[in-house]
């Protein structure tokens, strides 16, 4: 945004400097015109080069203040408030007017105009000026111009800023609706076909034996992985993790589950940085294990421990509840989808009894590259 205003400053200040030099050459203004010409050329060059090179100075009030003092000093040096440097002086308002926000920009403009009035009094603004109506009108105009410039620029900057916000918002909405559409297509069509293929193939189980059974089992596991991939993608598209870490997301899940449960839930450790799609699967496996512990385990305590070693990352969810049922709960999909997700990312999922044989322990171990490498990836 500032680059636009910097360009305006560059153009107007070069033009104003040229006008000043021309006036000084054509009209004799003071006894030391050559020095003034040298000063305005030097100051214009230095100020523009420094401000363009050091971008953070474009938004630094100290730089604006120094710039203002310098141009007012030039006006003072020309010994007349109707100075050849007047337009140059006005250009010093561009950056503060556009960088401060409307109200504060206006205050800056008033302060600047007052300083200019001070310089005018110091040069030759006196009782005579106030008695001559033409000179009075000229000084009034000279005082109004900086205020009008600040008002116009501050207003323009404000409108542009709002337009930019509006554009960002509509872009975000467009992205969101596109994500919704993709999620819907994945869920509504591709996923249904995968379900259908899995169902049909699973009907063969028990009817074939030996190597064929192995092949069917392999194909079924691939289909389950495909389904898990789609589930994670759909979930990602609808509520993206947006780069949040696995531990932070699990922390949010704990905060969601805690009020509706008797269990004391603790969460410690970190799995470090993981590639995005692995993090998405990892989080959803961890969240499922945690939800199962809270939902079905009747646990007093649930402990979630995350750890990162040189070549693996682990998530362990241990509860002291009633443990896994001997037979599968009908209609439940949780364990199946956890296993499918673990397969997808090449991780190991082990589910067994918890401490002292009570409750359940779910451990997910996923291979990782050393942390330095993965953060470069």
């Amino acid at each position: 945004m500032t680059s636009r205003w910097m360009a305006l400053l560059l153009m107007t200040r070069l033009l104003a400097a040229a006008v000043a030099v021309l006036l000084l050459v054509v009209h004799r203004v003071t006894a030391h015109d050559p020095a003034l010409i040298a000063a305005v050329i030097a100051y214009t060059a230095v100020s523009l080069v420094v401000l363009s090179r050091v971008e953070r100075l474009q938004l630094a009030p100290v730089a604006w203040l120094l710039d203002g003092v310098a141009v007012l000093a030039l006006v003072g040096a020309s010994e007349d408030w109707r100075s050849p440097f007047y337009v140059l002086m006005v250009t010093a308002l561009i950056l503060p007017a556009t960088g401060l926000g409307f109200t504060r920009a206006l205050a800056w403009g008033i302060a600047f105009t007052s300083a200019y009035l001070g310089v005018a009094v110091y040069t030759d603004l006196d009782a005579d000026t106030l008695e001559s109506s033409i000179r009075l009108e000229t000084i009034a105009t000279h005082l109004m111009v900086p205020l009008v410039v600040v008002l116009a620029l501050a207003y323009a900057a404000d409108v542009l800023e709002r337009l930019r916000g509006e554009r960002l918002r509509s872009e975000r909405l467009a992205v969101q609706s596109e994500r919704q559409r993709i999620a819907w297509e994945l869920h509504d069509s591709a996923k249904q076909r995968v379900h259908a293929a899995h169902l049909v193939l699973s009907a063969l189980q028990g009817q074939v034996s030996g190597q064929q059974a192995e092949l069917v089992g392999h194909a079924l596991s691939e289909l389950r992985s495909a389904g898990a991939d789609m589930d994670t993608s759909v979930a990602e598209l609808r509520t993206p993790l947006e780069g949040r870490s696995v531990e932070r997301l699990l922390g949010e899940r704990v905060a969601e589950l805690a009020p509706a449960s008797d269990a004391q839930i603790t969460l410690t450790g970190t799995v470090g940085e993981l590639p995005a799609h692995i993090a998405a699967h990892t989080y959803r496996i961890g969240a499922e294990a945690l939800t199962n512990a809270v939902r079905h385990g009747a646990a007093q305590r649930v402990r979630v421990t995350l750890a990162r070693n040189p070549s693996t990352a682990t998530i362990e969810v241990v509860d002291d509840g009633r443990g896994l049922p001997a037979i599968r709960r009908p209609g439940s999909n949780g364990l199946r989808s956890m296993r499918a997700r673990a397969d997808t990312i090449g991780a190991q999922l082990s589910i067994g009894p918890g401490d002292d044989g009570r409750g359940t322990r779910v451990t997910l171990t996923l291979p990782t590259r050393p942390q330095e490498e993965s953060s470069h990836a």
């Binding site: 819907w184 069509s189 899995h198 028990g206 389904g227 509706a260 939902r295 079905h296 209609g331």
Partner: protein, 193 residues
């Protein structure tokens, strides 16, 4: 013989289900319906024992249809068949009067088992938990909670109305309201907001 009516909007799912059920002894897969519109004619024509009902359908969803199917006399058993968020569907499925709830990722053997059990009048669903009840409770109005409690105990609507001292139609409306408040979100083609 268990006569089964399939309701699913996706052709691959309808074909797959029909093929799998036809291959299993003791099952008769009737013509499948794709949505609410052709469900009623099919229901009247075939009089099935079990309806395998997709949750996510265009127009009225599986829960709404399930409520209407279960109002028929005699009503077939309804097995809700969902590819999405199963455990959180447990309570709305109970409220809608579904006899069973099974995920679409279940292998055929589990589906056969579930169909046989609902046909015998058993209930097939993930267990209810404190966490699920707590979440449902916080999404519902306090005045509806007694109805939820009674519905989970399989209290008939007439009895609920008598206990609460209101018309059965009021109880029925409140159950509809609870179902719509507990609906499980599925991805929609475009965001309505």
């Amino acid at each position: 013989m268990i006569r089964i009516l399939i309701v699913d909007d996706h052709p691959a799912m309808r074909a797959g289900l029909t093929a799998v059920l036809r291959g299993e002894a003791g099952f008769v897969a009737l013509d499948a319906a794709t949505s609410a519109t052709d469900l009623w004619p099919a229901l009247n024509r075939t009089r099935p024992d079990v309806v395998v009902l997709d949750y996510h359908l265009p127009g009225d969803d599986g829960l709404v249809l399930c409520r209407r199917i279960k109002r028929q006399i005699p009503a077939p058993a309804v097995l809700l068949y969902s590819g999405y968020a199963d455990a959180s569907l447990t309570i709305p499925a109970r409220l809608a009067g579904a006899d069973g709830l099974i995920n679409k990722s279940a292998p055929a053997s589990e589906l056969y088992d579930a169909i046989r059990r609902v046909a015998r009048g058993e209930r097939v669903q993930p267990p209810l938990s404190r966490e699920l009840l707590g979440r449902a409770g916080s999404n519902l109005q306090a005045e509806d909670l007694p109805i939820l409690g009674m519905a989970l105990e399989d209290t008939p609507i007439g009895e609920m109305a008598a206990v609460l001292g209101v018309e059965p139609a009021v109880v029925s409306r409140r159950i509809d309201r609870m179902i719509s408040q507990l609906k499980v979100d599925v991805p929609a083609p475009c965001s309505s907001r």
